[in-house]
Symmetry: C2
């Protein structure tokens, strides 16, 4: 009388209830075309009735597909204070989940080609990997050879052969700089981000081109190098204030540096935006809460994640998708 309760529902049970073989159950559950409608129905009914859910491990073992996509993040300083990747990741996760894939998070140092992450990826523990802002290409190159589907968030140094998504850094910087000219500025400086990164260089390029288009020539003195930190923004601004007379506009390559710049400007006794106008990049929370509220280039970070996930899914289907560049939007507030 004691019913065997709580035994896992398996194909055995389903095939019995539906009156078909386990093979057919598998076919139905994997969307095989060549199954008679009646049986498809029978299986689906049984599945619904029994509340069946496939056993991932068993399925993986048999099929070789794990249903897992790794999101790999270099274990860096920036991670700890930057809401950026959190947002991207949640975008990725949402899309993957909709496609019945799981997100495996790997936060680790990627310098070594021999770390646990590297092992996991090479051992086929995942069906694909999405990378964030990589400084080292070595690992990626190796994985590409192994034909592991990959997507890179941010433009890679060696742009060939990789599938990537990125914000339109160039366009955003271009628009920001343009906006400053449009507001009547004539001496517009830039506080760059880390020029080692592709994003940093692209933003600088955008600034330069906008400058040329305005009919002026970008003076080298107007280019101050920062590293995305508050301090660097402040220091860069102080230097600019000393060296450049008539400075009336600054494009900072992220919001944090823009705030640093504003701090420096106010310490020098000048007023934003009356004397000097400031534009940031990211449109982070900081931009909204600072005083004066910061004009900034917004990138749709969630969309970035979703795009990355979609590119991954395309690859899993066997397609070879084109890289994807997402456009930006200038949010105008009081600072410029």
């Amino acid at each position: 009388m004691a019913a065997k309760s709580n035994v896992r529902t398996t194909y055995a049970v389903i095939s019995k209830t539906a009156g078909v073989s386990e093979a057919t159950v598998s076919r139905v559950l994997n969307g095989d075309e060549n199954v008679h409608p009646d049986r498809i129905k029978a299986v689906q009914d049984a599945v619904a009735k029994l509340g069946y859910k496939k056993h991932r491990a068993a399925s993986s073992l048999a099929s070789g597909r794990t249903g897992l996509i790794a999101v790999v993040i270099d274990d860096d300083l920036s991670i700890f204070s930057d809401p950026f990747w959190a947002t991207v990741t949640s975008g990725i996760s949402r899309v993957l989940m909709k496609n019945d894939l799981q997100t495996l998070l790997m936060v680790a140092n990627l310098d070594s080609l021999d770390g646990p992450v590297s092992h996991s990826l090479q051992a086929g523990e995942v069906d694909g990997a999405i990378f964030f802002q990589l400084h080292k290409d070595a690992l990626i190159k190796r994985l590409v050879k192994q034909k592991l589907p990959m997507v890179i968030t941010g433009t890679p140094h060696t742009s060939n052969d990789f599938v990537f998504v990125d914000t339109d850094n160039f366009g955003g910087a271009h628009e920001a700089t343009n906006h400053l000219f449009g507001r009547g500025c004539t001496n517009v400086a830039i506080i760059t981000g880390d020029i080692e990164t592709t994003a940093g260089r692209q933003r600088l390029d955008g600034y330069n081109q906008a400058y040329r288009k305005s009919g002026h020539v970008p003076n080298k003195q107007l280019i101050a190098e920062g590293d995305y930190s508050f301090e660097s923004g402040k220091a860069a601004m102080q230097r600019l204030l000393e060296q450049v007379a008539n400075l009336d506009g600054v494009f900072a390559c992220n919001d944090v540096m823009a705030l640093g710049a504003i701090a420096a400007i106010e310490e020098a006794g000048k007023v934003v935006p009356d004397h000097i106008k400031v534009v940031g990049f990211d449109d982070s929370l900081l931009a909204q809460t600072s005083r004066p509220p910061l004009t900034s280039v917004r990138q749709d970070i969630g969309a970035l994640g979703e795009a990355a996930a979609n590119l991954m899914i395309a690859q899993l289907r066997g397609e070879t998708p084109e890289p994807c560049i997402l456009s930006t939007e200038l949010i105008v507030r009081d600072s410029a």
Copy 2:
């Protein structure tokens, strides 16, 4: 002549190279005590030589353990701008990885007891789950019955039966309030967070108790309700300024609201900290970059994640660990 290259190394290969049975290979690789040292050595050598890595799916299927821990995040607004959970998660991930566990990220709406997350967890796709700031206990309660090891980050409403980690919200708020009195304030208001949450209530309690200890009685007028947003902080402060004469100190339950409060104070023509002193909570990036720099209660968020992971690991070992409360530190800057 064509060597079968690129075939996966399996126990079959290892057992041959090491001259033992597959069973013994398994024993060695799972740390079984009862194996002769010589054979352990033999197996380990073979493993090293062949660069072997266990096949997770196969191992899962056979053992019932997946090696996966879910990190479950309610798909809420807060996620998108709050670096908090990113930091916690990376702490979790780091510790888990060290213990040969993987982090499965699940960002989803948890209201339904029938969503994909719920299914995954109940279907045994993971060995345990770490939850963030939950509003609904229903899912958790069900999982607890299924004996799925769980850790909750943040204090749950129904505090019994759950293993959780949290910041010492009470202590932090207590210290913050105390600090204001120590600075000579006599009329100290609080801008609370969401009182529905345990954290919000605990911070209020800390404020109240510190107030009483100082010998004064906390006036109801001094308690303004916020919801952690900039706007709410600003609005709350405006109300306080109207209603309370001689206000000279404010404890805001997070940094964002503290900035909102400062904005309101300055708009009212008063100066921080000369007229009114302000303390925040979180010691986020905002606190460092605001003007004046914000005195704030710092919580070690990375440690919170590590603690959560460690509690999970303890449960996996069969222990029933005590909840864990992490202490805070008051970072004194210019605002108070």
